[in-house]
Each structure stands twice: as structure tokens, then as C-alpha cells.
């Protein structure tokens, strides 16, 4: 069952303008900075928020058509996992999971059976009688998922499913989540601010910036050809804008780079991966490479390398090993030579 | 100086000193100061008028009032409330004060009769006491602890009437209020209350032979800080023609 969402919604100064399709059986991640409207989009799909104009279609059923049609959340057949899970504190884990089936008319016995099955499938049977206040964050996430799945929804919506977890738990839970999401036959749409979630879990990514979709595509498409600075930063690549002519890229804001795509003409974007950049204390010699000078602005440690932000024309971010930093005696303010092979710069028209 | 001269000088000195300290000499003096008077609720309208007259007659005096049910005000005084004069609508209540030595020498200053108050227009067409026995009639009386209420109970008993009031109000003004608003069909109140309400309420007179009389005593509270002024006031209320004239105008009768 595919989802068609083509609508606008204005709240105060903010307008959410969406026009997209989610194919049946796929997993879509919605990525965006805070305040971009991701959660609002999810709430609209869940039926918890009215739209101002446009329509939303689930399969062949119109669930929203402003201003007259609005199918309530109860009738929409969606399962939602909320940020912070929203587990009912006065009910046990099993009762939480059974809540959906009971609401839809199942008898107490039937609902209990469904709950038991869900608990088993998610491996949390031992939590059955506990209260939400007595379980951990990771366990809560699984209970929330079980509760949403218990009603056998057509669409599964997750709002920042891993945000409430600490770094260690996140890894294991993400793997688990991947398993269940892939097993789910309907559409899955989840909202996240962590690109790793998108890369690992999603078939397709929608980038939402300030209420509008700025890019849609597979994770690798986004990584290869980021359309905006936000996407580029997200994917951890350098995005360079400029004017290409005859194999030379005139960078907006200063600098000239050689590119391998000789046939490109006009305004282009170019991607340069941080790993492809080498740093030197003295000007390197040799051909077939771009060389320019800059000053180190910041050094940011990552788990096994160091991210070096460099002010130059163009400014770039490079990643180097700890050893290199020590060897070159790099620090903030150091004057440095930047080098990148022509082949490592991928230019493309937008 | 000879003896006669010394004698005359001494007399002159004494008279002179006497003139300097007038109260010490015990001569007739002007009353002044403040008085606090606790009085029964049914005196709410008449007493301030009498007080005005008193204050005009004796400028420099000020009378403050506290109106409530007779038992309430007596209880307050017994508990030590700083009151100078107390006037109740019940001799037994006053006797309580005498027995506990809180008050001294009460004087009867007025008398009141009961009447049947009905809403303007007399919607239930009540003419006599026996009409009050009618089924479904909403009759109100005062609680028996209130003088008006005990008088009403006594009156019904004396006349062998079988009435069922729907309420026993705690003060006669509340009772009258409910008659005026039409929530009650009839209420047993004092003739003075009826007069005070004017055209808002109508009343049916109860013949003297069927009626019960309430007498009003007033007395000085023994612990009063201004017994002289208190005595003045008590005498004024009881004996002055001004005061008795006001009482008559309000519907109170002579107690003797």
C-alpha cells in the first residue's frame, strides 16, 4: 500500500509543504534539522494534525482532503512509536500492548494472546507484568514497537525511535529495529536526525529543511550528490559550488580546482570526501593534483580519526589519523597545504 | 491676716480648685464617649434611629451597634465581648445574663406582637391563622431559640393549630426575605418587621386573644467601660418621649 502525500500546513510563521510518494513495503527516513517539520509531517500522516490544503492517500483511500475529508487516527490503521514512547504508566507492559486490539474490539482473551505473541516476537516476554516505570529505555522502545504492531497497521510511523537511548544501547537497538522493520510488510516512515539511522535502515531518504523537501533519494544517491549544505554536512562530505569550464572549476568565493569531468559547463556542485584530502606542511610537488594553502580553524576528534577544519579558498574539512596530527604537529592556527587528486573531486550539475 | 480672711481665702481656693476639676466635684456633666450596643435582630431598623436622636441630644457621643439573634448576643457578652448595653427580644435570655451577673437591672422598654407576613398580593389568599394549616402551604417560622420562633411555637400551641413549617430560619430577617421573594407563602414575624418591609410585603393581623406578646428588656453590661453613658442611653430609650415616639412609629407597643 503506497502513500501519496501532497499537502501544505501553516502554523504561525512556519509552513510545511510536502509533495512525495512512499512506495508500498518500503522504509523511508525523514531527515532534517530541528524545527524543519519532521515530527509535524509524522503527526499529519498519523491523522493527529489537520492540513490546510492538499490531500493524503493511503493506498486507494483518501485519508485527508482539506477541507472536508479527515479520517481520524482511530480509523487510519497506522501504528505510531512516539518519541519517549508514551507508554501508559498505569498499565502493565502486556496491558499496554493489548490496548490496541482491545480498542478495536478484541475480547480480553484475544487481546492477551496478541500481546503474548508480540512480546515473544520482540523477545521481551519477561517484561509482561512490569510497569513502564520499571523497564529500561531500550526495553521501552521494544514495548512501544510491540504496542504499535499489535494492531496490524498498514503503516508504521516512528518518531526519533533511537533518540532517547544512550550511545551504547543505540547500536544494539538499531540492529534489532532493523530486523523488525524489514519484517514489517507495510510502509515504514521514520523521523530521525541521525544520518546513520537513515543510511542503515532506510530504502529511501527524504530531506526536510524548513518545511520543504530539499532532496529525496536512496542513501547512496544523497551521499554521492548532496543537494544542499545540510545534506552534505549530514553525509560528512565537502560540498563545493562553482562555475565549471573546460575541466576547471571556479569556486564561488575564491579558488580554482581541476576536475576530471571536462565536459561540464556552467554552475555545478562538486563533492570532495574528507578522507581523500592530504595535508602537508610544505607545498607538495607533483602533477595531476589540486594544491592550495589554508589555516587550521578547528580540530575535532572522532572515534578513530581527527576532523580538521581548514580556512582556505575553498574551505574544506579533512580527516587524518592521530598519528598524522602528532607527526605534523597540527594545531589551531597552523598554516597548512591542502592537496586533493583531481579524480577525487566529483562534480555534477544540480 | 485675720481668721475670717483666712477662712474666705480657703473657701475661694476650694471653689477655684473645684472649678479646675469639674468631674472630681461630682457636678452634673455632659455625657461623651463611645458606646457599643448589642441588640436583637428585630431592633435593626429602630435602634439606629433612636441612637441618632440620642447623639443629637448629646453631641460628642457615638453609638455603635451589633445586631444578631438574642441568644447569640447574650452568649457573646457572657464570653466577654466588650459591649456596654444589651437589648434582647426575650426576657428569659436577659434573665440568663442577670443570673450570671453579666448585666444588672434590666428595664422593659418595648413590646411586639406577631403577625402573618405574606408576599405582596397575598397569592395564597390567607385571612386567618387557621388558613395556615392548609395542605401544601409553604409556611416559615423562626427557630425556637430565636424569640420570634418560640413566640410562634407558643402561639400555635395555645391555639391548638396543626401546622408544618418548611423551614425554621435562624433570624427573622432571613425569614422575611424569603416571604418577600415569594419562596414562602407565609411567615410568622413581628409586626415591626412587617412595618419595616413596607410595601414589599403584606400582613395579616393576628387578633390579640390569639396572639403571643414579646417583651424587650435592655440592660447595662456590668463590665462596661462607660457605665455613665450606658446608663444615660438606657434611660433615654426607656423614658424619653423621643425614643418612645420612634418606637411607636416603628410598630412597637408600650411594654406596660
Amino acid at each position: 500500500m503506497k502513500i501519496l502525500a501532497n499537502f501544505t500546513l501553516t502554523k504561525g510563521n512556519f509552513t510545511l509543504d510536502i509533495d512525495t510518494t512512499v512506495s508500498a513495503g518500503t522504509v523511508t527516513a525523514v531527515l532534517g534539522p530541528n524545527g524543519s517539520g519532521k515530527s509535524t509531517l509524522l503527526r499529519v500522516l498519523a491523522g493527529l494534525q489537520l492540513i490546510d490544503s492538499g490531500e493524503i492517500v493511503f493506498g486507494d483511500r483518501v485519508v485527508d482532503a482539506a477541507p472536508s475529508i479527515h479520517v481520524s487516527p482511530q480509523d487510519r490503521c497506522v501504528g505510531v512509536v512516539f518519541q519517549d514512547y508514551a507508554l501508559f504508566p498505569h498499565l502493565s507492559v502486556a496491558e499496554n500492548i493489548a490496548f490496541g486490539p482491545r480498542s478495536l474490539g478484541a475480547s480480553k482473551k484475544e487481546a492477551r494472546n496478541v500481546a503474548r505473541a508480540q512480546l515473544e516476537s520482540l523477545g521481551i516476554t519477561e517484561l509482561s507484568a512490569r510497569r513502564p516505570s520499571q523497564i529500561s529505555g531500550g526495553q521501552g522502545q521494544r514495548v512501544a514497537l510491540a504496542r504499535a504492531l499489535a494492531t496490524q497497521p498498514d503503516v508504521l510511523l516512528l518518531d526519533e525511535p533511537l533518540a532517547a537511548l544512550d550511545a551504547q544501547t543505540r547500536e544494539s537497538v538499531r540492529t534489532e529495529l532493523e530486523r523488525h522493520i524489514k519484517a514489517f510488510t507495510g510502509c515504514v516512515v521514520f523521523v530521525t536526525h541521525d544520518p546513520l539511522d537513515a543510511m542503515l535502515l532506510a530504502d529511501r531518504v527524504i530531506i526536510l529543511e524548513n518545511g520543504s523537501i530539499t532532496q529525496e533519494g536512496t542513501p547512496s544517491e544523497l551521499a554521492a550528490r548532496p543537494a544542499t549544505d545540510y545534506v552534505a554536512t549530514l553525509m560528512g562530505v565537502n560540498l563545493i559550488r562553482g562555475y565549471a569550464h573546460d575541466g576547471l572549476l571556479q569556486v564561488d568565493g575564491g579558488g580554482v580546482l581541476q576536475i576530471s569531468q571536462r565536459s561540464l559547463e556552467g554552475q555545478v556542485l562538486a563533492v570532495l570526501r574528507p578522507e581523500a584530502i592530504t595535508l602537508h606542511l610544505t607545498q607538495p610537488q607533483g602533477s595531476a593534483r589540486n594544491v592550495w594553502r589554508g589555516t587550521i580553524r578547528a580540530l575535532t576528534p572522532m572515534h578513530d580519526r581527527i576532523r580538521v577544519s581548514i580556512d582556505a579558498s575553498p574551505p574544506v574539512v579533512a580527516t587524518v589519523t592521530h598519528a598524522s596530527v602528532a607527526e605534523l604537529k597540527l594545531s589551531v592556527g597552523t598554516s597548512i597545504w591542502v592537496s586533493a587528486k583531481t579524480l577525487t573531486i566529483e562534480a555534477f550539475t544540480k | 491676716m485675720n481668721t475670717i480672711m483666712r477662712g474666705l481665702l480657703a473657701v475661694a481656693l476650694i471653689v477655684g480648685l473645684g472649678a479646675l476639676f469639674p468631674s472630681a466635684s461630682g457636678a452634673v456633666t455632659k455625657p461623651s464617649g463611645e458606646l457599643t450596643v448589642s441588640a436583637a435582630a428585630s431592633l435593626t431598623d429602630v435602634f439606629p434611629v433612636i441612637a441618632d436622636a440620642f447623639q443629637k441630644r448629646f453631641p460628642g457621643t457615638e453609638i455603635r451597634f451589633n445586631f444578631a439573634g438574642s441568644s447569640t448576643i447574650m452568649n457573646q457578652v457572657i464570653a466577654g465581648a466588650p459591649v456596654d448595653v444589651i437589648a434582647t427580644a426575650s426576657e428569659p435570655t436577659m434573665r440568663l445574663g442577670v443570673d450570671t451577673r453579666i448585666v444588672a437591672r434590666p428595664l422593659l422598654f418595648a413590646k411586639n406582637d406577631l403577625a402573618i407576613a405574606v408576599p405582596a398580593g397575598n397569592p395564597e389568599n390567607i385571612k386567618t391563622l387557621t388558613d395556615l394549616q392548609r395542605n401544601g402551604l409553604l409556611l416559615g417560622v423562626c427557630e425556637t431559640v430565636v424569640p420570634c420562633g418560640s413566640a410562634a411555637a407558643e402561639m400555635f400551641f395555645n391555639n391548638k393549630l396543626d401546622v408544618t413549617p418548611v423551614t425554621r430560619e435562624l433570624d427573622v430577617r432571613s425569614l422575611l426575605g424569603k416571604v418577600i421573594s415569594g419562596d414562602l407563602d407565609a411567615g410568622i414575624v413581628y409586626i415591626t418587621d412587617v412595618k419595616a418591609a413596607g410595601s414589599k410585603v403584606e400582613f395579616i393581623e393576628i387578633p390579640v386573644k390569639d396572639n403571643v406578646v414579646t417583651t424587650y428588656p435592655l440592660a447595662i453590661v456590668s463590665d462596661s467601660k462607660n457605665t455613665e453613658l450606658a446608663e444615660r442611653f438606657v434611660n433615654f430609650v426607656r423614658f424619653s418621649t423621643t425614643s418612645q415616639g420612634i418606637l411607636r412609629a416603628f410598630g412597637f407597643a408600650k411594654p406596660w
Binding site: R76, G79, F88, F99 | T72
Partner: protein, 263 residues
């Protein structure tokens, strides 16, 4: 002992407050005529008044719950227009002297009242001088306590839970009774207890609107005030009964419901 850990600037005023509230109660207990006590409280008038008080206060609390809980929800979710104004109107009975509330009720529901007149003329229904009148008067003054306490409870209930229930297929009735109300249970209990306590002690509005007649409208507070006019020791004895009943219920509830809260 925890007292030693409390800072003085809080401990001293707190203890003063405690004394201020407790000493008059102790004085009342000390003045009780213990020899006559059994006779006084077992008299038919006293039992009648107690029965009436319990009956009407519980009925008033029930009515307050049925109408006040939805009102509290409506105010908390700001569903109606002019919510601020409505909230202020709901608080008015708290601010009015009870006798004035009684007068207002007479103007509205008395035999010649705005609504009461219509009811009397067409259906021969009256409320003053009836036990129902007592329930009306006490509900009027006590319901705002429930509404205000519970509105706070609903307000602090995050919308998220009701949203989750909706996405799970629950209709609005199920959401309200299975999610919203259970989750505000502590505030609801507190509100109901407060409401009941206020109803039990109500005097001014009751006597003004419903009148004073033993067995019909003379609740405990009215009986106490009546006794006060004639025999103070009886009044004190009756007051003590009221006190014991109230304290008994509050202590019983405290154990049960404050425990649930802590867990």
C-alpha cells in the same frame, strides 16, 4: 530525625501554621462535655442531621464528579472559546460569601426565579426547602474545588498519551476513561476529597437556599449553629462528631491513595 535537616526559616513558620490550625481543634476537644456526649450524639436530631449531612455531601460530590470532570477536561484542553473567562466564572462560587451564593441560587431556582419560576409554573417543581435543594446548594459551592484541582491535573497530562491511544484505535470515550482519567487519578482523588469536605461543612448557602428543617434540610452545620443559640455544649459535641467523621475519612483515604502516588 528529619526535622533536624529542615532549615529554620522554613521550620519555624511551618510549625506556627501547624499550631494555629491545631490548637483551636484541641480546645474544641477539651471543651467537649464528655459525660453528656453519648446522649447528645445518639439523640434523634443529631443522628438525623448526620445522616442528612453524609447523604447530601456524597450526592453533591457525585454530581460534581459527573459534571465537573468533563468541565475540567474542557478547560484544560482549551476546547471552548474564552477559556480564560470560563475559568474565572467557575471560580466565582469560591469567592462569593456562601450566603450570597444562596441568594443567587434563590434568584435562579427559587419559586419566582429565572429558571425555578418556569419549573414551578409548568411542572410544580420546587427546590427550596427540600433535600434536593441542599444538594444543589452544596454542589454549587463545592464543585469549583473539584474543577480547579482536576484542571491542573489534566493540564499536566501530556497530549502524547491521548494521541497514542487514538492511533491505537481507541475512540474518544475509551481514551477519556481508560487513559486520561486514570492518569490524573491523584489529582482527581484530591479534588473529590476537597469537594466532599467543602460540601460537608457548607452552611450559608444551604440555609439561605434550602432553609432549616430537621430531617429535611437541617444538616450538621445547621444543627450546630441552631444548638449554639440555645446550648453551647450540645453545639460543641455535634461539632466534634463532624470533626471525627471528616478526619476519619481523610486519614483512611490518605493511606490508600498517597501510597499509589508514590509508586
Amino acid at each position: 530525625m528529619r526535622i533536624q535537616r529542615a532549615p529554620l526559616f522554613l521550620l519555624i513558620p511551618g510549625l506556627v501554621a501547624l499550631l494555629f490550625l491545631v490548637v483551636p481543634l484541641i480546645a474544641l476537644i477539651a471543651q467537649t462535655p464528655w459525660e453528656a456526649f453519648p446522649k447528645i450524639i445518639s439523640s434523634p436530631e443529631a443522628l438525623e442531621a448526620l445522616r442528612l449531612s453524609l447523604l447530601t455531601s456524597l450526592a453533591a460530590t457525585g454530581l460534581a464528579a459527573v459534571f465537573g470532570i468533563p468541565m475540567a477536561w474542557l478547560l484544560a484542553r482549551e476546547v471552548l472559546p474564552f477559556t480564560g473567562l470560563l475559568r474565572a466564572l467557575v471560580i466565582v462560587p469560591l469567592l462569593l460569601p456562601p450566603v450570597v451564593s444562596g441568594v443567587a441560587l434563590l434568584e435562579a431556582l427559587g419559586r419566582r426565579g429565572l429558571v425555578g419560576g418556569f419549573l414551578y409554573d409548568n411542572f410544580d417543581i420546587t427546590f427550596p426547602f427540600t433535600t434536593i435543594g441542599v444538594v444543589i446548594a452544596t454542589t454549587f459551592v463545592a464543585m469549583p474545588f473539584l474543577i480547579i484541582t482536576l484542571e491542573g491535573g489534566f493540564r499536566s497530562l501530556h497530549q502524547r498519551y491521548e494521541d497514542a491511544a487514538a492511533t491505537l484505535g481507541a475512540n474518544s470515550r475509551r481514551i477519556f476513561f481508560r487513559v486520561s482519567v486514570p492518569m490524573v487519578a491523584p489529582a482527581a482523588i484530591a479534588g473529590l476529597v476537597l469537594c466532599w469536605a467543602r460540601a460537608l461543612g457548607e452552611f450559608g448557602a444551604t440555609i439561605t437556599f434550602a432553609g432549616n428543617f430537621p430531617g429535611v434540610t437541617q444538616t450538621m452545620p445547621l444543627a450546630v449553629y441552631t444548638a449554639l443559640e440555645s446550648d453551647r455544649s450540645v453545639a460543641i459535641a455535634l461539632s466534634l462528631v463532624l470533626l471525627l467523621v471528616s478526619v476519619g475519612v481523610l486519614v483512611a483515604l490518605r493511606g490508600k491513595y498517597l501510597q499509589t502516588r508514590a509508586s
